[in-house]
């Protein structure tokens, strides 16, 4: 069992009421998509937005096929609305 750290941005803060979440998975390395599937089960209110969400570790955007280990933090990047 391993704990994965997830950071919430934008509307995810409102949906979850927190800035970050912990998700426990059965492996020491998982695909991002597996983590998102688990997240969606635990937080069904995130479902719609997760469909249009990008994922980042540090300042790198990553494919959902990429893998992540528990020492990294996954940032959830919902649709952006900066600018004017």
């Amino acid at each position: 069992m391993a704990d994965y750290q997830i950071e919430c941005y934008g509307v995810f803060k409102r949906l979850t009421q927190v800035d970050s979440l912990k998700i426990t998975m059965g492996a020491e390395e998982v695909q991002i998509k597996e983590l998102l599937d688990e997240l969606q089960k635990q937080y069904p209110e995130m479902t719609d937005t997760l469909k249009v969400t990008a994922c980042a570790i540090g300042d790198e955007l990553l494919s959902r096929e990429s893998t992540i280990t528990p020492d990294k933090t996954l940032a959830l990047i919902p649709p952006v609305s900066g600018g004017q």
């Binding site: 509307v11 990008a54 955007l61 609305s81 600018g83």
Partner: protein
């Protein structure tokens, strides 16, 4: 906070000084400001938040892409973070180029691209007391493989 994100008033003067360039006959500036009306609601303030590391990196990339794509000598982009009152500037684009056609095109492309690619979010606060995160643009890269 950085050269790209600021939690205080955006400093147009500093950007103009930074981009001074005797080869440039044209200066185009775009500023985005908090508007009192949005989609029929009366706005009181907007709270801008960002994924700082990725936003700074992306703003730097968009600056470089703007210079390359339009062959303009200077492009600077800065964005405000935090709660902004009506009329306050949330974003500034400064472009300097030899002539005005490319300066206008570059500034327009830069702000359009900032809105599509930079991980910044706005929560609009209304006079009625409630607030809402505005609908945005999904980051295009890396989400084609959605579940």
């Amino acid at each position: 906070m950085s050269d790209y994100l600021f939690d205080t008033d955006l400093d147009l003067h500093a950007l103009l000084a930074e981009t001074e360039d005797e080869s440039c006959g044209a200066l185009v500036i775009f500023g985005g400001a908090v508007r009192v009306n949005n989609e029929g609601r009366t706005v009181d303030s907007i709270d801008y938040s960002a994924h700082n590391a990725l936003a700074e990196k992306t703003l730097r990339e968009v600056e470089q892409e703007t210079r390359d794509k339009f062959q303009v000598a200077q492009c600077r982009l800065v964005h405000r973070i935090g709660k902004l009152a009506l009329g306050e500037l949330s974003v500034l684009v400064v472009v300097r180029a030899g002539h005005r056609p490319e300066a206008f095109e570059a500034a327009r492309w830069a702000i359009d691209t900032v809105k599509k690619r930079v991980p910044i979010w706005k929560e609009e606060f209304y006079q009625s007391g409630d607030s809402e995160y505005l609908e945005g643009t999904p980051l295009e890269s890396k989400i084609s493989d959605r579940p």
